[in-house]
Symmetry: C2
Subunit: 239 residues, 2 copies
């Protein structure tokens, strides 16, 4: 598994200041921090900082340089992004496969290269890479914004690493009610619906259909308590 | 499986014109096309069109309206995005799980809601959703740009659907050389390296190590031919 602090994000000949900022934001949301800007065709300016939002620290520590070889000198795995087919001999894989692959080995420094917005990486730049990465997309329009491309690639790496991620995902099944609590609730429901003459003894199917609704809902204990409260309220009201 | 043309992307109270354009671009790259803008806090202007790049058609056909309920009227599954924990009862899953889930059922129209850039969806807006979607991210900075968030969600749906995708991914193993071709090449290599006195009969290990290098390379037939050309050139040169 790689250390995120060992990954260099390298922008080549970027022409829009806003994109450099958007890249910084994408990096920070996915826990990456080392940004290199090689031969930019624009300045890092106020627009960059506006687009970086709360990732200003990454922009401030970005290293601007002129020589890609020097940036890659200490890297032992270099990834090149591409939106289009190339005639050079290089393996091209999707971000999921990339994340799988780099999770298998021990690496030192890794670099991910993103080319100019209009033309992408040159063949010469891509030839410096160990592997290419292409994001499956609309055949008729494969051109993702560079920050969006990077966002997907880093997201796949983060998902694969499964470390330090925000986790607000929740599925309310922790306190799923026990079988006897559900059964008691369903019996209570049946009784109340008979009391108010909704269910009649000669029509058992309607009773089963109502039970099915509540079984599908994967009720928690708290929810059962709320529903039994409703049943009791109905009972009290109809006395 | 869902039809992409049945998915509505719904922006609520968006405040930056550029983001509306970036969302259109993210949609088109992932094969989605129906954009709704509800109560925007900005205009769709030149900046929007610049950020949309070649997805201008999606911006031009975007529907601006004032009432979310009307937009959702014909939807039978509504997804709400969120970067933060909520106190309302709603299941929240990650984009991979979301793509898995919606691939299992038959739906009519589906909507994906994205809230205002600063505060996200309100609890009231999120309560209209069947499910929430959170992108695992940096615990200390979960705030992805809205277009980047959407890019990841639509990418996961596209990857799961596996339909009509660009596929320039290539692994050069189609024409992997046959075992006897590789063996003949390795024998040829051995012979030449002995001829030029690089390999000596009393050091078989170096011969095995060189064989290992080429075995790891998963050589194609074409590559074998190139390498044998080099061996022949060495033979001719040293005569």
């Amino acid at each position: 598994m790689i250390k995120f602090s060992d990954v260099k994000i390298v922008l080549l000949e970027t022409s829009h200041p806003g994109n450099i900022g958007s890249v910084a934001r994408a990096m920070k949301t996915m826990q990456f921090s080392e940004l290199h800007v090689v031969n930019p065709l624009c300045e890092i300016n106020d627009i960059s900082f506006a687009m970086a939002s709360n990732a200003k620290d990454i922009l401030e520590s970005a290293k601007v340089s002129k020589n890609l070889n020097i940036v890659l000198k200490d890297c032992n795995f270099v990834i090149g992004t591409t939106a289009r087919q190339r005639d050079i001999p290089i393996e091209i894989i999707n971000p999921k496969k990339l994340a799988d692959n780099i999770s298998k080995y021990q690496y030192g420094k890794i670099a991910i290269l993103l080319g100019n917005e209009s033309r992408g990486l040159t063949n010469d730049q891509l030839s410096k890479c160990n592997i290419g990465c292409h994001i499956p997309s609309n055949k008729a329009y494969t051109s993702l914004n560079i920050a969006s491309s990077l966002q997907i690639i880093l997201y796949e790496i983060l998902m694969k690493s499964n470390t330090g991620m925000s986790n607000i995902n929740k599925i309310d099944k922790k306190n799923l009610a026990s079988h006897d609590k559900v059964t008691a609730f369903l019996e209570h429901t049946d009784k109340v619906l008979k009391d108010i003459n909704f269910i009649k003894d000669d029509r058992p199917m309607i009773s089963r259909k109502i039970q099915h609704i509540f079984k599908k809902a994967d009720l928690t204990e708290e929810e059962i308590n709320i529903l039994r409260g409703i049943l009791t309220a109905i009972e009290n009201h109809s006395q």
